[in-house]
């Protein structure tokens, strides 16, 4: 296309600030850095996928985010999803559990079992995973502030049920730094919070080497207002902060990096998203190899769950979210993620109903069974556009990471509220752009329908009696357990925390003695104190 024709078309700049041309050629690929950094699937730099055969060998795991009410309710929903072909579990916890308090804490009033399953002690895990084979179904725990307790509970449960913990697989989210940026389930100040993440990684590397104790999340930073390249760049800065914490304890990189995993977001422009993941796979491999001297290819793999994408769904015309979800799942499949989860069409209203969950599951199954998405690895590779954008996005991610380092590093910027202020300013600008119609959103600022025509969604019911039942169960546990054993374990925990030893062995003992989530938090708060949120605009 000649220059005059190109300049006559409307300008397009993607959400990451990259100008998009109407036509790409081999020259664009060459000018953006060439094709030297693509390689083959399963080979460094892994841009095309971390495994040689990807979905042809094994399709992506489908892992809907699920949990509500008490562990009994959640166990039933788990079994329903497994019976419908779901291949992994992704557990949602209620807010009291997430911030490390018990169901009978005064701060928990009105919140027990509301946005996830309530967990107070190991007893709740025993009920929640009853009848589920932990060798066949891998379990991902979406827990951060209270991750040490819940990882300990999961390992204790597996041990109790006779599994070999050395072979146990599973994931905990455990990414506390992003909780300070968005999502907000922090408990302790930033520094001891990072130390606890280090404790869990170090402990699992020794005791449960197949378990993934960390899933670094760009996802929530994106939800808080970051653009796609910032999502990956900030996520990688955070992952490096944890890696540095563990390296400082003397553990070699190849002994833990292979168990690090990631969670990213999928909403927005399809090509932007696919290239984001391809770019990030190459960049993470490069960081691990060049900056950390990793030798094991597994240490260089960007293993990820790509979830689509609460921030993209709309309150208006909720059923259209089913279509959006289908495109997000398509995007995740084209991008070669290991695991997919979809936000459900009703999530702008309520926690998903069983029906909505099944539609999301069918969406992901359909791509594998009917649409050929699991047949060929990285099918968009070699496209002039895709390879150019992949190169450009990788370079932008590197630039943002260098900026963070130049400003003192991610831990410092998060503790000072700088990243929060930056992404929140962007979220405001984006909202203004949507309201002014500059950024198009179907059903929101174009193609609207009259409010009376909007369909009501069915609501997942919240049962007040769940709180009462949960507190009764908690009291039974407190009455039946060996109080001396609990007291000893908690005493040791506080001593270990104060002496800056790894607290996981003591938490394991406490959990096995049925100490509660809140009791364990209290010991750590006594030593570490509580986080105070910096308010910065």
């Amino acid at each position: 296309m000649n220059d005059r024709l190109q300049s006559s078309v409307r300008p397009v700049v993607n959400e990451s600030g990259i100008e998009i041309k109407p036509v790409y050629t081999a020259r664009d690929v060459a000018e953006s850095g060439g094709d030297g950094f693509i390689g083959m699937p399963g080979e460094y730099p892994f841009v095309r996928g971390i495994h040689p055969l990807m979905y042809r060998h094994r399709p992506y795991t489908m892992r809907q985010y699920t949990g509500f009410g008490n562990p009994r309710d959640t166990n039933e929903r788990f079994k329903y999803l497994i019976a419908n072909g779901q291949t992994g579990l992704n557990v949602a916890f209620d807010l009291p559990t997430q911030i490390g308090i018990d169901s009978d804490d005064p701060l928990a009033v009105g919140e027990v079992g509301r946005v996830g399953m309530a967990v107070d002690s190991l007893r709740d895990f025993e009920i929640a995973f009853e009848g589920i084979d932990l060798d066949k179904i891998t379990v991902s725990l979406t827990i951060n502030g209270a991750a040490p307790q819940l990882i300990a509970m999961y390992l204790a449960l597996a041990e109790k049920r006779g599994y070999d913990v050395k072979k146990l697989r599973g994931t905990a989210q455990n990414d506390i730094l992003k909780e300070f940026v968005g999502r907000g389930t922090w408990i302790y100040p930033v520094k001891p919070s990072v130390k606890l993440v280090g404790d869990t990684i170090e402990y699992c590397a020794q005791v449960a080497p197949k378990y993934s104790p960390l899933s670094v999340c760009g996802y929530h930073i994106r939800e808080s207002g970051a653009n796609p390249v910032q999502e990956m760049a900030y996520g990688f800065c955070i992952a490096k902060a944890y890696a540095d914490e563990v390296l400082a304890r003397g553990l070699p990189i190849d002994e833990f990096a292979g168990r690090l995993s990631f969670k990213f977001n999928v909403f927005g422009n399809l090509f932007d998203q696919v290239c984001k993941f391809r770019a990030a796979r190459g960049l993470w491999a490069k960081i691990m190899k060049e900056q950390y001297g990793a030798k094991d290819p597994g240490s260089m793999w960007l293993r990820m769950i790509a979830g689509g994408g609460g921030g993209g769904l709309t309150y208006e015309q909720p059923e259209v979210n089913i279509v959006r979800g289908a495109y997000y799942a398509l995007t995740a499949a084209l991008a070669g993620c290991q695991t997919t989860a979809l936000c459900c069409y009703d999530e702008a209203y309520t926690i998903p109903t069983e029906y909505a969950q099944r539609i999301s599951l069918r969406t992901m199954q359909l791509l594998i069974e009917e649409m050929g998405l699991a047949d060929t690895v990285d099918p968009l590779a070699g496209s002039y556009y895709v390879e150019t954008l992949t190169n450009q996005m990788r370079q932008d991610m590197e630039r943002i990471m260098a900026e963070v380092d130049a400003q003192g590093g991610i831990v410092k910027l998060v503790a000072a509220g700088e990243i929060q202020a930056k992404v929140s300013a962007q979220a405001y600008a984006m909202q203004r752009n949507v309201e002014a119609g500059r950024f198009r959103k179907v059903g929101v600022n174009c193609y609207q329908v009259d409010e009376t025509e909007e369909r009501e969604v069915a609501f997942h019911p919240y049962r007040e009696e769940d709180t009462r039942m949960q507190i009764e169960s908690l009291n039974r546990v407190r009455g039946e357990r060996d109080g001396t054993r609990v007291k000893e374990a908690l005493g040791r925990l506080r001593a270990d925390a104060a002496a800056e030893r790894n607290v996981m062995p003591a938490i394991m003992d406490a959990v096995k003695a049925y100490a509660t989530v809140g009791e364990i938090t209290n010991e750590l708060v006594a030593v570490y104190g509580r986080y105070r949120e910096p308010i910065k605009f």
């Binding site: 999502r183 907000g184 709309t314 309520t350 929140s424």
Partner: protein
């Protein structure tokens, strides 16, 4: 005579950590010339009432995304009334299902802004309804 600046406390009630929307609204109110005190996360009903009283605000605003708005507001209403803040403008935004709107009105919330509300509508409502 210049108009007094409208003063707003915007709180995140309960344990909900979704603060993107709250912070966006804070910026919109500040851009509209209002003075905004943003509380940060995890405010109890007692804390919200105390801050509103201490800061002598015109508007008490809540942002709730995690479905515990009704039990929270039921506890907040008597505290605000006891503090003599019954005549202030109470507004709430966030993930607020339609079937809860009538109850929120009964509890004294004059402005209800569910997900998808427009920033300019929130600003205009506050300007028009502050005593």
């Amino acid at each position: 005579m210049s108009e007094r600046r409208i003063k707003v406390v915007l709180a995140k009630p309960g344990l909900d950590g979704h603060d993107q929307g709250a912070k966006v609204v804070v910026r919109a109110l500040m851009d509209a010339g209002m003075e905004v005190i943003y509380t940060g996360l995890r405010q109890t009903p007692e804390a919200v009432a105390r801050i509103a009283l201490d800061e002598d605000v015109d508007v008490i605003a809540l942002s709730s995304m995690a479905a515990s708005h009704l039990p929270f507001c039921e506890r907040l209403k008597p505290l605000l009334e006891q503090a003599g803040l019954g005549d202030k403008l109470w507004v709430i935004g966030g993930n607020l299902p339609k079937q809860d709107h009538a109850r929120l009105r009964e509890l004294g919330f004059k402005g209800i802004f569910p997900s998808s509300s427009k920033l300019d509508d929130i600003v205009q409502f506050i300007r028009e309804n502050v005593q």
